[in-house]
């Protein structure tokens, strides 16, 4: 495999995980979910392109028919469904690999690499990854067309930042050019006896969140994240919630106020594009990592394994960049994650009109 020198030095300083320490995963299910991730991302990129064309066309008309507006709303409803399915698939994948310990191993792998090479620029990482023909081939094998990859590359040009170590943990600083850079510290999954109440209630929150996501709407889920120590799974969960929420907001705006004709450079559009790009890179990276990482597997290739894990982290950082720059209603960041269960008698939905009838 031909990896450029900078990244190759990074990749070769890692240790493979022993096969016996890897909990089992349902590879066929993961493969199907990853195909779904790529497929839904492709549909959403197509929708964004359609939306831009629709806006431009409407701007050029003296008036449009009700049928046109209804068609745009139908497309938006389909986009929301696709966003939901993309997020659900990403949560399923993440839940499996989380239980298998792969997310923690990913962090360890990247930390080892940064210890050897020093901080890495995100834009450099992407440039080298995108220009590597083997990685490009892998993207193609995962169903990412050249056209889609071009869109992805375009979105990634908006992201800059770095990966570095802080207190022995992996840290990322990221910016999209709007506002001040934001930092996040990645932590491993909690193990052992909880030492604080926050830690006690944080256990199992990802699984509870994924379950609620499946059964209910995301409007019932707040963002649960502590940027002073966030698990990779939390980033994926929050990206799922925020991504679907953005699509829902967009659909509702179309329904209540119609299609606006200004060009789509508003922050919401940029945030959506970043979250989509992040999920795509994350999903493809995970497919690469899962095929190449287990020692003893015939596909094992340490450099490819690490490349896959790098892409997982890169994808997570890009998702984070998208969620941190969402305009309008700010997600409620809570460090505690008690919301589903701390006081069950005040959560949930229900009509309250009966209070006065």
């Amino acid at each position: 495999m031909s990896i450029t020198k900078d990244v190759s030095e990074f990749l070769t300083t890692t240790n493979a995980s022993s096969a016996s320490s890897v909990a089992p995963v349902n590879r066929e299910m993961l493969r199907r979910e990853q195909v779904l991730v790529v497929e839904r991302t492709t549909r959403l990129y197509e929708y964004h392109r359609y939306l831009a064309d629709a806006r431009a066309w409407k701007a050029g008309q003296k008036g449009v028919t009700i049928g046109f507006e209804r068609e745009v709303q139908t497309q938006a409803a389909a986009a929301l469904t696709n966003a939901h399915e993309l997020a659900t698939a990403s949560l399923h994948i993440t839940g499996q690999v989380k239980q298998a310990g792969e997310l923690d191993r990913t962090l360890e792998n990247i930390i080892d690499g940064i210890k050897a090479t020093g901080p890495v620029r995100i834009e450099d990482l992407w440039k080298q990854t995108a220009s590597d023909p083997r990685i490009r081939q892998h993207f193609r094998e995962q169903g990412v067309s050249d056209d889609l990859f071009k869109n992805l590359d375009g979105t990634m040009q908006k992201v800059s930042g770095s990966l570095f170590l802080k207190e022995g943990k992996l840290a990322a600083e990221v910016t999209t050019g709007r506002g001040a850079p934001r930092s996040v510290l990645f932590v491993r999954s909690d193990n052992g006896p909880p030492r604080t109440m926050q830690a006690l209630f944080a256990r199992g929150r990802f699984e509870r969140m994924a379950q609620t996501f499946d059964a209910w709407s995301v409007a019932g889920l707040p963002a649960v994240m502590n940027t002073n120590g966030v698990e990779l799974a939390d980033v994926i969960a929050n990206g799922s919630i925020q991504g679907v929420q953005l699509a829902a907001r967009h659909k509702r705006k179309l329904e209540d106020t119609g299609l606006t004709t200004y060009a789509g450079h508003d922050p919401g559009t940029i945030a959506s594009a970043l979250i989509l790009a992040g999920f795509l890179i994350y999903g493809v990276g995970m497919a690469l990592a899962l095929s190449a990482c287990p020692a003893g597997s015939y596909e094992h290739d340490q450099s490819v394994c690490t490349a896959g894990r790098l892409m997982m982290v890169l994808g997570a950082v890009v998702i984070l960049a998208g969620t941190l720059f969402i305009p309008g209603a700010t997600p409620v960041w809570t460090q505690l994650g008690w919301w589903t269960l701390a006081v069950p008698s005040i959560s949930g939905a229900g009509a309250f009109g009966w209070l006065i009838t």
Binding site: Q73, S347, G353, T357
Partner: protein, 533 residues
């Protein structure tokens, strides 16, 4: 025509665009605000109900004046007409009076002041001054000319004499009601008191007609209480009378009849104004200090009357601070209901903040919750334990907004407060209590978002058990949103929707209609009302 005017949401969420009676079409959300911060709309039926309610509360729903009947007060034709209704022997009964009665006030028409045209391209037409004069309400009374025999009452020896005579022994019979002192003059005690209502006694109606009043209306407002309403100004309003019967039409022109009519209506004219609309009170009964703390700019209110399929609709349009509202853009969004209320985030957010603070639950709520934890200190194996937690909700909200829904449910109203959580007890997955909690017992505080589906029913089979204290909190929080009026009307199911795009909510409901069922009795006829939902 607005290209969105025929829109409905493609996947209408339960509770949204729902017409309880199925009589109306909801307009698209974007056409509702017209630049105002809040709009309250009332159907003619609700205005009628309010007018009747307020007249009744003031004792002005039935107005009358009597004069003892003397044949020479009336023309021969009237005497002849009386004879056809009442036999001479009945006429000879003492106390027979001629009476003019006004009852059954009905709002037949309402007009708003002229609306300045909204010029094309002008997104913010100037709004009317707060007093917004120029509106009128047409109120029609049923005019009855009656023969009246007041009910006789027995008084005890110690009862002070008022209007009547008492026997020297202190016991006797006296007529109730006003006492005549002179021809054509009815004496009252002279002060502008609420009408005494219809005097009790027997009546025979000689003729019926109408008394029509064209009454100026004005928006009244108590700015620092955030309340407004439409009032009808009766001072100096003279009715025009009409009776089909030519004999009594002539009688109405006589001095006797005119004096009686004027006396009948004087309590209403003295009362001066009666509310035609309910009092719109977005913050309802919040105390003055809470209202001040809301720090809303000065409230302005104006009226406009619009039309929909059901008839005329009164809209009270409210702005805080400089108004960007255009009265000419206001449309009916009653959608077949009696009442509709649009409130933007600019209004409902500070109101919810104040209501939460006024109703905050300051007592901890204790619950047992499942937690994932190791089965023992040295194990990686985890299971489900139980934690008993005490949760205290914050006194204040930090946010209140409407978020877009990604499901078929409506956009939830999200309020954010703080919760202080303390672990009281902990059991491991094997059921053993962990007695030494250490740092686990330290209370921690963090935000908690609470999402409220304002208009959606729970899914089939789903249950919601609210802590009684929390239920009380929500009732105090949401009642003014669902029912932003002061009058205690009984209403049907509440409908409406929330819009994250418009950052606003719309509430609609209808009055529970009453069916009036006449019930025959031994003397005359009594009316009883049966309320139906």
């Amino acid at each position: 025509m607005n290209s969105f005017s025929l829109f409905q949401r493609l996947s209408p969420a339960p509770g949204q665009f729902v017409n309880v009676d199925g009589n109306g079409v909801a307009p698209p959300p974007s056409s509702v605000p017209a630049g105002f911060d809040a709009i309250a709309e009332f159907s003619t039926y609700l205005l009628q109900h309010t007018l009747s309610y307020n007249l009744q509360q003031s004792g002005l729903d039935s107005l009358s004046a009597q004069v003892p009947y003397q044949a020479d007060l009336v023309s021969a034709q009237v005497q002849a007409a009386i004879a056809t209704h009442v036999r001479p022997v009945i006429q000879a009964r003492s106390g027979m009076c001629l009476e003019v009665e006004l009852s059954n006030a009905t709002l037949t028409n309402i007009e708003g002041p002229p609306v300045p045209p909204t010029s094309a391209g002008a997104a913010t037409a100037r709004w009317r001054p707060v007093s917004n004069p120029g509106g009128r309400a047409t109120i029609q009374w049923t005019l009855s000319i009656n023969l009246f025999w007041p009910q006789m009452k027995t008084v005890g020896p110690a009862e002070p004499a008022t209007n009547g005579t008492t026997s020297p022994t202190g016991a006797g019979i006296r007529p109730s009601g006003a006492v005549v002192a002179g021809l054509g003059t009815v004496m009252t005690d002279g002060s502008p008191t609420p009408g005494p209502g219809l005097p009790q006694g027997e009546r025979v109606t000689l003729a019926q007609g109408t008394a029509q009043m064209s009454v100026p209306t004005q928006v009244m407002m108590v700015g620092n209480a955030f309340t407004c309403w439409l009032t009808a100004m009766f001072e100096n309003v003279q009715p025009s009378y009409a009776i089909a019967d030519p004999v009594f039409a002539d009688f109405l022109k006589t001095q006797v009849a005119q004096n009686l009519a004027q006396q009948a209506i004087s309590p209403l004219l003295n009362w001066q104004s009666v509310r035609v609309s309910p009092v719109v009170a977005p913050a309802r009964t919040l105390p003055g200090t809470a209202l001040v703390n809301m720090q809303l700019p000065a409230m302005q209110a104006s009226q406009v009357v619009v039309e929909d399929q059901a008839g005329s609709v009164l809209a009270l349009c409210i702005s805080f601070g400089q108004s960007g509202g255009a009265l000419g853009l206001v449309r009916s969004f009653l959608a077949g209901h009696h009442f509709a209320y649009y409130a933007s985030e600019k209004l409902f957010k500070p109101v919810l903040f104040a209501l939460w603070n006024a109703n905050a639950v300051r007592v901890p709520i204790v619950h047992d919750v499942p937690v994932e934890m190791p089965v023992d200190q040295d194990s990686n194996e985890t299971g489900q334990g139980v934690a008993r937690v005490s949760v205290t909700l914050g006194d204040n909200l930090s946010d209140a907004s409407i978020e877009a829904s990604d499901s078929n449910f409506g956009d939830p109203l999200t309020i954010v407060t703080t919760q202080t959580v303390q672990l009281l007890r902990l059991w491991d997955p094997n059921g053993n209590e962990i007695t030494d909690l250490g740092d686990l017992a330290k209370p921690a505080e963090g935000p908690i978002p609470i999402r409220l589906q304002m208009f959606d029913e729970l899914p089939n089979g789903a249950q919601q058990n609210l802590d009684p204290m929390v239920l009380h909190l929500f009732e105090g929080l949401l009642r003014p949103v669902y029912m932003p009026i002061m009058e205690p009307f009984s209403v049907t199911r509440v409908a409406g929707y929330t819009s994250s795009a418009l950052r606003a909510l719309v509430v609609t409901w209808s009055l529970k209609r009453q069916i009036v069922v006449p019930v025959p009795t031994a003397v005359g006829t009594e009316i009883s009302a049966v309320a139906v939902g």
